[in-house]
Amino acid sequence: MADILINVIIAFLAGSLLLGLHRKIMARVQKRPGPPVIQHLLHSLKFFFKETAFPKTVSMPFYIGIVFILAAVWIVGVIVGPVTKGSLLILFGVYAVYKIVEHNAGSSSGSPYGKASCVRAVLSAATELPLFAAVVLVYLKTGSMNISSIIAYQSVNGPLILSIPLAAVMFFILLLSKSPYSPFGITKDKALISGFETEHFGLLRGYIMFAESISWYVMMWLFLTIFFPPLSAAGYLIGMLVITFITAFINATTPILNPNHSVMTQITLGAVCFIGTLIMIFI
């Protein structure tokens, strides 16, 4: 339990600071000063003390239960990832539940913006295709879905990013779609105010930010672990900083796509990378 608690705290603090850095880099690219790097962490904590009320139109207890599920699935992510280095399939399941949470948080809110975001969450499940394809390709290459076996494989045969780079590109697309202000972030398009989070304010927003900080850390940890050779803590830190910098740069310079284009772009990139990787493996 101590191991889990330590990893959850590290994931929350590192994830919050990296999301703060993400925002800062985006601002600097757009020639704005931007908020301090620590701002995301401070906001997450501040919301726990803000005035909170639950609108009459929300579906109780689902409205609160869904954010509880969001936090619980990313605790599962920490346990299966950094703590036990378990199965990739469970992490795929965690991501699938995350999409269900986006959908249901919007539908339970009673807000027209939340409901529009809920519909888009169904479309944005297209991001699961590149993830699933990447998991399949890693399995075809290493013969295992277990993260510790994949680490062992890479220490003998070299990093997977060199042998199946297109699978890494697919996984990176997933990271990009998960990052704030992403061109693929159709559920949180500013045309929908805050999307499925619009009616989750105060305490519940702080709770969502806590879970999303953990999710950002877990997704980057997973990418670095399954595509790079065994890394030290400093290696993970540098890798996460680089990924945060690249995604922030892309998001700062790219407009948000409309839902159809977002889905088609992800599916097309996923299909091209999947076929390309199959050719690299079997030919």
């Binding site: 889990i4 726990f48 909170t52 605790i75 619009t198 009616e199 702080g206």
Partner: protein, 71 residues
């Protein structure tokens, strides 16, 4: 409101005890994982319900009247 506060205090105590029990006693792995998955989010949520500010009584009705529909 009183019921909500009381439930949150009970849930906070229960989740704290569950986490402490797993820290002090060596249970089987699956029990520790189940407690972590349920008790850690529950601890944070119940603590949040206790620390959050409540609207003033004269503003309470206005706050819950309708969802946000735009600026």
């Amino acid at each position: 409101m009183f019921n909500q506060k009381l439930s949150c205090i009970i849930l906070l105590i229960l989740s704290t005890l569950a986490i402490l029990a797993c820290l002090l006693v060596s249970f089987q792995d699956w029990i520790v994982y189940m407690v972590a998955i349920v008790a850690i989010p529950l601890w944070i949520l119940s603590l949040g319900f206790l620390t959050m500010a409540k609207p003033r009584s004269e503003d309470a009705e206005e706050r819950v009247k309708e969802p946000f529909t735009g600026y």
